[in-house]
Symmetry: C2
């Protein structure tokens, strides 16, 4: 039994996908969420800049006495996870491996597509993890640089010609190639699930990296005896690096939970 | 006569609009350009974060012995210019006032529209400057948060349903309101000039904040005796805060000039 909180990191709203699932499957756990809203988006940045940012983000989260950290950011997971794990003496899990395990469990033709930010696709992390788990699998990744700004601007509704056109362009090469499973390798993308499913049709199973990592975290806490007692009710604290009000507004919609006046702003450059 | 360089700042590619004009109208001047590509976009950030970033950006530029600074970034110009001017003992000019002067010179019905980032529209800086110059002018501003990511992803071509749809949505309230002059209050927007002109029609004159500030700078240098001798050929140096290659690629297209292997990367957090 361990009632210390779990740290969850993302750049903005995307990681709340994982928080939503964690609140459902681990309601007894305390969560400390940090969204680096002053420096979002990470997806187009270089590996070196990403590592610098990720180290600061972890240092802030570790100013709390945590039992585990969930990197609910595809870009940091694909570019910096190994370094963060080596530098920290607590479990640090990312979104890549859980999503890859799930994708391999559901694929029948062993052609797995992956969409993510440019930095994540460039990193080759999903391909490497999939091939390590199943050397015979075929993988095709495609960057979707406009999805994060479109999602952050609320363009998530089926029938919107803007998001539909961009999504169709991004998915076309993957569908022509013939994947039967598509990893949503960025935690913002579950907000586009209805649109993506509509374009892919029933022959393609979508796997959400933002959701699978929450299930992985639950397994890990159970295996290591780190779960909190089930009769308690967990809390959630939210920290951001830019104006709290803008985040609260969007996050309340995202979580379907009112978090107004609950987010606190911190200066990430101090870490 | 003064051959010290001019510092030019923007967050990414937008300020190159001003550089392009400066190279044409002041070919004898040396330019030091800094693009804060590690922290682009600025447009959705809070005033406090913007001021912190802007101070760092100026400190870096002033590590060179400059004669003047051009803030070729709409967001910093609208939120932080007065503070930067007060803190620096050299001419610091922004994009707001030159664009407003030009807009007032061309408007006939004295209804001026303005499009910019969310931070710039929230600041009210264009309205304030226009009313200071002409108390009777009517002004309507509209934020266009998706324009910067769309431009940075190359969606600038007429006929592209994505940029055309977004642009039509953003411009509709301004056109219904009946402006005859439209200020492009963000230095990225001149890349959308053909699309915006197509939607606005011949009854609306577009005024580019990124171009007008270059003419203003020329006037200021002449008035203060700070021009370089006309028989010399000016140089341009480019600095960025993230990977130089990505910037060089886009900037070469943007400037219609090959700047491959010419940009250098600096660590802006050191300033």
């Amino acid at each position: 039994m361990d009632t210390r909180p779990i740290g969850v990191f993302d750049t903005g709203l995307g990681g709340l996908t994982a928080v939503r699932v964690l609140r459902r499957i681990l309601p007894e756990e305390d969560l400390i969420y940090f969204g680096d809203t002053a420096r979002v988006p990470y997806g187009g940045r270089s590996r070196e800049t990403l590592l610098k940012y990720a180290r600061q983000d972890l240092r802030f989260l570790r100013s709390f006495d945590l039992k585990a950290v969930l990197i609910a950011c595809g870009t940091v997971s694909t570019t910096s996870l190994d370094v963060l794990q080596a530098e920290n003496d607590l479990p640090v899990i990312g979104v890549v491996e859980p999503a890859c395990r799930r994708a391999l469990a559901v694929t029948k033709n062993r052609r797995v597509g992956m969409i993510a930010t440019l930095a994540s696709v460039r990193s080759g992390a999903y391909e490497a993890a999939l091939r390590r788990l199943d050397p015979g699998v075929e993988v095709l990744g495609h960057p979707c640089p406009l999805f994060v700004p479109l999602v952050e601007n609320g363009r998530v509704h089926p029938g919107d010609v803007v998001i539909e056109t961009v999504a169709r362009e991004y998915l076309e090469p993957l569908l022509e190639w013939g994947c039967d499973t598509l990893i949503l390798g960025c935690t913002h993308y579950p907000l586009l699930e209805e649109i993506l499913a509509g374009i892919c049709g029933p022959g393609v199973t979508l796997v959400s990296a933002g959701e699978e990592c929450a299930f992985e975290l639950k397994r890990l806490l159970s295996a290591q005896g780190l779960r909190a007692p089930e009769d308690r009710r967990g809390t959630a604290e939210f920290y951001v690096s830019d104006q709290a009000e803008d985040f609260e507004e969007a996050a309340s919609l995202f979580l379907a939970e009112d978090i107004h006046h609950m987010a606190r702003r911190i200066d990430i450059d101090q870490y």
